[in-house]
């Protein structure tokens, strides 16, 4: 188990401030990431939770500056060890990606080049950032495979992706992520592609790797179980905004935003063996990207919404202990259950 690090005890490796990413299409332009701020220290794990369309994946890709052509960062800053990478050149970004900020993509089945051996794909990451000979890089790749619990790593390094199971590919992608011991590692939906019994294995592996390398981990997920298991802090996203962020225990005990609270109740009910027949649910559907109104994006589905919520967007305010922030005019108080 990772030792929880209290927020802001160490100088942050990553500070994101007022990040705004917009996406254009035929139907208009909308902010997929809308004024997001957070910071992250070495060894810390931040969970970014949200449902589909909340902008969580776009936030991850913004941090790597790997956005699709139609999307771009319009304002804000991403400071890595104090250096704002929003202003970095393409060549500078290339040196940062993989070496300082690395990604473990969502779907391991389609994230490896089908035409190259697994070992080569790990070794080329090493060679892109370090002056090592091909043979040396290959033996380091084998070592990395061993570290992510791949049996017979020498043999497996020579295999092609299609010769491996989903769980094994997931670990290969993990090995690529930690290859150059980055400062920040972004794991995009680390468990969705996996079977239940393998999920737990993989999360344990991620935690072990974090302990060994001291990397700051960002876990993008829709699953509160993943958050509860491995995160130190959580940011809940809705319609491109972080509506609430807090230390993980605090968020589960006293969610202040009606959306976080409803989500936590819904997923806790799913996980609860007892309980009545009915599941607590949230009425309605998330808003579309284009044509979001003026006010709080959650207002149409919120049981507590008042006129003001529909008129103006709530700013981020403090909700109690250090590090608990919420975007709501009428934050909730008290226990979730």
């Amino acid at each position: 188990m990772s030792t929880p690090i209290p927020p802001h005890s160490a100088p942050p490796v990553l500070e994101v401030e007022e990040l705004r990413t917009s996406l254009g299409s035929r139907r208009g332009r909308g902010n997929v990431v809308d004024g997001v701020s957070f910071s992250l220290s070495a060894g810390e794990t931040l969970g970014i939770v949200g449902e589909s369309g909340s902008g969580k994946t776009m936030l991850g890709m913004s941090l790597l500056r790997l956005l699709p052509r139609a999307a771009q960062i319009v304002s804000g800053s991403i400071r890595l060890d104090g250096r704002d990478i929003v202003g970095c050149t393409v060549a500078e970004m290339r040196d940062i990606r993989g070496a300082e900020i690395a990604l473990i993509p969502q779907d391991p089945m389609v994230s490896l080049d089908p035409l190259f051996r697994v070992g080569t794909q790990i070794a080329e990451t090493l060679r892109a950032h370090k002056p090592v000979a091909a043979g040396q890089a290959m033996s380091e790749a084998v070592e990395l495979l061993r570290r992510v619990n791949i049996p017979d790593p020498e043999l497996r390094a020579q295999a092609y992706p299609f010769e491996m199971s989903g769980g094994m590919r997931q670990r290969v992608v993990g090995a690529i992520g930690i290859a150059c011991t980055p400062k920040v590692l972004i794991a995009d939906e680390p468990t969705t592609a996996l079977d239940v019994t393998v999920q737990a294995q993989y999360l344990a592996l991620l935690q072990r790797l974090q302990r060994e390398t001291g990397v700051a981990l960002i876990v993008i997920t829709h699953d509160f179980g993943v958050v509860a298991q491995i995160c130190d802090r959580v940011a809940v996203m809705y319609a491109g905004r972080i509506v609430e962020q807090a230390e993980v225990g605090r968020l589960f005990d006293a969610p202040a935003h009606p959306y976080s609270r409803a989500l936590i109740e819904a997923s806790a009910a799913m996980a609860n063996e007892g309980g009545g027949r009915r599941f607590p649910s949230i009425p309605g559907e998330p808003p579309p990207l284009f044509g979001r109104g003026e006010g709080c994006a959650f207002a149409p589905r919120c049981a507590f919404a008042r006129d003001r919520c529909r008129r103006e967007a709530p700013p981020q305010t403090s909700a109690g202990p250090a590090g608990h922030a919420v975007r709501c005019f009428y934050p909730l108080e008290g226990d979730a259950r």
Binding site: D195, A200, A228, A262, N272, S281, I282, E285, P286
Partner: protein, 329 residues
């Protein structure tokens, strides 16, 4: 929750098996192989009962559903519906079986034909049955749409105009039109967001109470099945390894695999966070199904006997059955 009635079950699977013969590719040196996907599966669903079928990929749960729906045929064993052998039905009897047993599938995007209007999609079972006049079809379609919380204005619209949750409602409405007695729910909410999942599960529960249907709920999500089902069947590599009343299974977790499934559950609250003791080994696939007990390579308790002899499924007096040499009945 209702308890299983002592009378004849609505649907019964008896010794169901499904083998695939992997054709040898021409000029390949590999020998022809037979792969066992289902092996001696027995299962019963009573009136108005919900039976949950849990398993990971390769467990054979989807094949079981396909066989019940007559999308696939078993290599051995039978499916009995109200005591009749489903494999032998044809003509009118098959028609009547089809109207009694309807599926809802996982992917709401693939379930609805993008080129057809909602009226046509929902009305198809009625149209195909050929027993209803146009006006009655329309009335029944409207009734089904209302039952899932959709309005008449949905009729002329096309699937792409609806969100995932709404599409799943449309798929459920379609299944309801012929007033079936059994719904096969194959991962009905796994493709949906958490907030929408709850909506759909509540809807299914409400419909079951109102229409007195039986459900076969197939899912990889142990939490969901345990929460909803009256009985649970745990499948691993094509066999049922544990079966019984939900409460008893959740409490006792006799089979090591069931236990592993429960132990792999992610916590609902960070305070329940624990050092995960994951089961070892790779998830096996039907292609390299181990001899003996299929779970033995990943089982901490496995003995020599488990490696050679497949354990039979043995039930106790309360109807809680386990397939494990290490479990005393």
């Amino acid at each position: 929750m209702t308890t299983a009635s002592p009378t004849r079950p609505l649907l019964e699977l008896k010794g169901l098996g499904r083998h695939l013969t992997l054709a040898r590719a021409p000029f390949s040196r590999e020998a022809t192989r037979t792969v066992s996907i289902l092996d001696n599966v027995n299962l019963a669903i009573a009136e108005n009962e919900t039976v949950g079928l849990v398993g990971e990929s390769g467990s054979g749960k989807t094949t079981t559903a396909r066989i019940i729906l007559r999308l696939d045929s078993p290599s051995s064993g039978q499916v009995l519906f109200s005591g009749e052998d489903v494999g032998r039905l044809d003509g009118r009897a098959l028609k009547s079986y089809r109207r009694n047993v309807q599926p809802v599938f996982q992917d709401p995007y693939s379930s609805l034909n993008p080129r057809l209007s909602v009226a046509t999609i929902v009305g198809e079972p009625l149209f195909v049955s050929g027993e209803f006049a146009k006006a009655e079809r329309r009335a029944r379609v409207l009734q089904a749409l209302n039952a899932v919380g959709l309005q008449a204005d949905a009729l002329g619209r096309y699937p792409h105009e609806f969100s995932g949750g709404q599409r799943q409602r449309i798929a459920i409405a379609r299944a309801l039109t012929l007033q079936p007695r059994l719904l096969i729910l194959d991962e009905p909410v796994s493709a949906l967001d958490i907030s929408i999942r709850a909506q759909v599960m509540n809807l299914l529960d409400e419909l079951q109470q109102r229409m007195r249907m039986s459900y076969l709920l197939i899912s990889h999500d142990l939490d969901l099945v345990v929460r909803v089902a009256d009985r649970v069947e745990v499948m691993y590599l094509g066999t049922i390894v544990e079966s019984g009343p939900t409460r008893s299974i959740a409490k006792e977790r006799r089979h090591p695999y069931t236990r592993a499934l429960f132990d792999s559950k992610l916590p609902a609250h960070p305070r329940e966070r624990r050092a995960i003791a994951p089961i070892e080994g790779e998830l096996a696939s039907p292609l390299n199904r181990p001899r003996g007990c299929p779970f033995h390579p990943r089982c901490a308790m496995a003995t020599e006997r488990c490696r050679v002899e497949a354990p039979p499924l043995r039930a106790d007096a309360a109807g809680h059955a386990t397939a494990c040499h290490m479990v005393e009945i």
